[in-house]
Amino acid sequence: MRDVYVLGIGITSFSRLEYPIVEIAAYSSVVALKDAGLNRVDHVFVANMGAARVNHQTALASALVDHLNLMPCGAETIENGPASGASAIKTGWMAVASGLHDTVMVTGVERMREVNNLEATDFVASLTHPYAEQIYGVTLPAMAGMFARLYMETYGVTSRHLAMVAIKNHDNAMLNRFAHLHEKISMEGILDSNDAMTNNPFVADPLRFYDLCPVSDGGATLILGTAEMAKKIGKPLIRLAGVGQATDTHCVHERANPTDLLAVRGAAGKAMEMAGVKPGEISVAELHDAFTILEIAESEEVGFFKKGEGHIALEEGYTELGGKLPINTSGGLKAKGHPVGATGVGQAHEIVTQLRGDAGERQVKNASKGLTVNFGGFGNNVVSLVFVRE
């Protein structure tokens, strides 16, 4: 198999975007094409979860190719729930590694704010099991609430730890102009003061408002290609060195230990093994913190910390900017935003930005190896990527 490199990256703001979904996808795609100095690619993969339902539009990849006038290149839309983005990158990696294509554009896009928050949450809840979960009114925040309660009971994680994740990621997002939430929050305001219950009410007890990611629109693009192409472009050489994926049971209740995220463990393990990188060598990571508890749980499952010790590392500042292993420097899903189909590509965009040394005020010093975890379903389909600067 051939080595696969990142030729170009592009992103839109993650926020409420009042544009047709194809134009959102086109924006990040054009930015990435310019970044790579290309005007043609061999193939286009578009990651999207909900356009058919939320925006009444199918076959997005065909529409994007037309909008960018990239005909007659091949194009497919890839749907893998909230892990669609990293799934599309993995598919792009396969296309270049196999020798089928020399340049592949991967664009993730979602426009969820076209409907109200309840409809958007209901759309995401359609990934749960139809008769064993969905009929009861369960949503992803509800799944996360049940997971968080058991996790807190088992490992001694408290609401304070969850709030620390939110505060850290909101702080990081202040330094990222593409982030959805530019809102500095404090322990006083969301947990300690008399107004805290008003500022930060329960959504899915024990999870509160500031434990949840926002509903975002957005697009992000990565252009992948061969070593030869990457050298020609003349940017820092960033190799997509590892791709890993694993699945778990559809229903959380069927897992032997419902606080284990075995698909995260499996996916990240495979990605790091392929890249020949150990967890201790990772300089920066983007973990799928749709809910604050997930950043803590995933930081353990990928092997950064022992099971049950992620919240202690958090407390010690290990995972903040300037710490030994900064997590979610972009602001994460929590504050950068979570346009579901775009999220996995957005995570990769941040890691490439860090490895190129282009992250400005939130730059991690000497970042050379980065990891992403893109979490589909409630942990039943996870894709992990490892990028290495050469």
């Binding site: 209901d122 064993a132 009114g137 369960v138 949503t139 509800a142 329960f202 899915a204 007890d205 419902p258």
Partner: protein, 112 residues
């Protein structure tokens, strides 16, 4: 006749599944017998959801995962004022969701 929720027992290894599968999670065989799931169990975890889907006409929706006395787990709605992990619960089959066309039945648990 009392309405029951059915588990799916593998004819080869005896593992009981809920929900159903085409192939057994433990041994991979593909033939199952149905058997009613028990009503009694213990509450494994729970949440109170304050923004339930739009078609629910309630302020908060308590949901939980219960480990039934045969070891099979399932999700259900809770009618419990002060739920706690590990408490004994007893289920009944009743309407859990009303759509435009249907009344959908599922498990609702109370304190045992």
């Amino acid at each position: 006749m009392e309405t029951r929720i059915l588990g799916y027992k593998c004819r080869t290894c005896g593992h009981v599944h809920y929900p159903n599968k085409a192939l057994c999670m433990k041994c991979g065989a593909g033939d199952f017998d149905t058997e009613p799931l028990p009503f009694n169990g213990t509450l494994l975890t729970y949440t109170e959801l304050y923004n339930p889907p739009g078609d629910f006409d309630v302020v908060k929706l308590p949901l939980g995962i219960v480990e039934l006395e045969n070891g099979v787990r399932m999700m259900g709605q809770l009618e419990i004022d002060h739920p706690a992990i590990g408490m004994a619960v007893k289920g009944r089959v009743d309407v859990v969701r009303r759509t435009k066309y249907d009344k959908i039945k599922g498990m609702i648990f109370k304190a045992a």
